[in-house]
Symmetry: D2
Subunit: 152 residues, 4 copies
């Protein structure tokens, strides 16, 4: 069980593992860790007053994933409540990189069960043509992301 | 184990149960039966030269589900190969009703493990506004659906 | 939009639609309604101090689905918050039947977007052999289910 | 679009993107790439005459993931047929590392849409207690894995 070091400020959400998320090995299927990372990022965006799929200046702006990885340290089971911590690693011109920590258990006894990383690109989605084009992060959103990162 | 009665002509597809589709009870999670029904309907549409989400006369035509039910008789397990049979029950002006049979095992020994029904509505999707509006089934597609039904 | 009639007491949970639960038609994929019904049933069991997959007198007792159906009235979208109401329809010797109502929107303006039904069987799971055998509902749990039903 | 370099021998499977695997951005949700990697690994094990969850000398042997990552280069859409190539990167005493390439399109024109890596650990699962314990890869299976790797 990993020691939990004191951490900088970060966005945190909680989630209980559902039955459908388990597999025949009796543990949560690993693919759900990626879904939990994404859902935490979306909750983080909501906390900034933004969406991960929103209309900005008449354009649909989205955030497809460019890279995602996860290390799995301990199995997680049905009805376990996970705490998921999101920290912004880097804000680039057209993308953002996050680091995630998955914790199981109450504060002092909590164990890190997995850690993940995700890189997402800011894009313009053309619904008509289905085209996806990389764009710079809209100014207002960038400002909020940077404030959140500084605040850590 | 149910007897398999001789059946009329129908569209048939096969599918092997994947690990991620199992749950901690060691069997396939029931929600996947609905996904298999839908995937079979899509394969059926492809066999007609159509899509379940296609552009007809400049409009996006889709087929959201209006009603779906399933009776589960026997558990299905990892790497079981299911045979899924689709039969058209009824073609209405703006919707189609299907009946599905899920079989496990080789021909003569096959057991019916589940049966399902699905009603789908033909709609126009407006990608700009996100509006979904019920429409009559496009003539060309209707003709093919009716031929398929007659052929049964 | 359906009128919401005054309802008897029922178990209620809430849930926000996630990005991964949407599909290319821009709405929540219908298979998730079944997953939400199940998750609500599990939350209901927790509220009774029980689990849907627990050890009773040294045996693993589970609740596989026997039948499940759903009628879909209105599309549900990313980040919509659904209220899911569970009512016990019937408690039999070896099974329970539930009725579900999915509501979208705040109290007085809430619309019924879907209704579902689910029948679940009480079974003994033999982990060694993988056998699943129908059993009578354990006495303690039956009592709590009946109290919940009466309370409605 | 990436050039496809000549590649060493590898295990290959194909898969058509399903409707339920798309999201509201109109593309396949990224979490499915991890599911496809796993399904390909399972098909590879079947090709060796083994299972990823099987009984060896009276014990249940499984292969939980220890690490998984994926880089996403191009979006994949409904009904696209992906070719997934698995290559064994390394066989250790208690684990195996795989590299995956996702291709879209016919042979000469195929584009690499994603590449992934996965490390899986060989474990003994105790169904009674739910314990998962790392073990050495069983001799017979190791031999087949090494032959497959050499054959590349």
């Amino acid at each position: 069980m990993s020691e939990i070091e004191p951490q900088p400020y970060c966005f945190e959400s909680q989630r209980r593992v559902e039955f459908v998320e388990t597999d025949m090995a009796g543990i949560m299927h690993f693919s759900n860790f990626y879904r939990f990372m994404e859902a935490t990022e979306h909750a983080f965006f909501r906390s900034l007053g933004h969406g991960v799929h929103e209309t900005v200046d008449g354009e649909t702006v989205g955030w497809p994933r460019v890279q995602a990885s996860c290390d799995f340290f301990k199995p997680v089971r049905f009805e376990d409540t996970l705490t998921i911590r999101l920290t912004i690693e880097e804000i680039r011109r057209r993308s953002v990189r996050y680091v995630y920590t998955f914790l199981l258990g109450e504060s002092d006894d909590a164990a890190v069960v997995a850690t993940g990383r995700m890189a997402t690109a800011c894009v313009r989605l053309d619904r008509e043509t289905g085209t996806i084009e990389s764009i710079g992060i809209p100014a207002l959103l960038r400002e909020k992301l940077e404030t959140a990162k500084e605040g850590q």
